[in-house]
């Protein structure tokens, strides 16, 4: 069966520090991968999505970046965090191929607090 792992689960970082969140999927190949962010009490904002290794689409201009070095690995990074980067970050994957036809499977999330 397919599983998705996200880490770290919780982190507290000072403003201006770097960030690296990692997500891996097991049990499937060539998934679509996604990073969403959820500010406290708000909706799900799509940040990046990827349909293959090295293929990243950015939805929101910001100081964040994403990379997909391997088929089932998706990394969210920042060189310098801002206070507004605080939130609940969710990685998700969907069925293989170029379209979403089924559900999104979400990881357990990474809660980031920038102080």
């Amino acid at each position: 069966s397919q599983t998705i792992h996200q880490w770290p689960a919780t982190l507290v970082q000072p403003v201006g520090s770097p960030l690296s969140l990692e997500c891996t999927v097991e049990g499937t190949s060539n998934p679509n991968l996604y990073w969403y962010r959820q500010a406290a009490g708000r909706g799900l904002q799509l940040l990046f999505y990827s349909v293959g290794i090295g293929q990243i689409s950015s939805e929101v201009p910001q100081n964040l970046s994403a990379s997909r070095p391997q088929d089932r690995q998706f990394i969210l990074s920042s060189k310098k965090l801002l206070l507004s980067d605080s939130g609940f970050y969710l990685c998700a994957w969907s069925v293989i191929g170029g379209r979403i036809t089924g559900e999104l499977f979400f990881g357990e999330g990474s809660r980031l607090t920038v102080l």
């Binding site: 799900l44 689409s57 036809t101 999104l104």
Partner: protein, 110 residues
Amino acid sequence: QQPVQSPQAVILREGEDAVINCSSSKALYSVHWYRQKHGEAPVFLMILLKGGEQKGHDKISASFNEKKQQSSLYLTASQLSYSGTYFCGRLEAAGNKLTFGGGTRVLVKP
């Protein structure tokens, strides 16, 4: 632009019904519905692929009106476990991305 959900919040007594609406200014290829419990990741409820299609999940059902670019989620005979935030997601025809609405908070009281 993200889909617009209404209402933003609803409080129900156990056994009551509720409707959550989702509308889009962009054409809808398909609509997803998810529920998120506090502090947890969203969980998939259902997807509607065709205009006018209705689907159900236990006593939660949904409709999709492709012409009006709207979808509605129906909570029937609500249970305490229905509490959470419900999100609709819009899939655009040409893309791989799913854009979510702002969410509707549902609280079911005994």
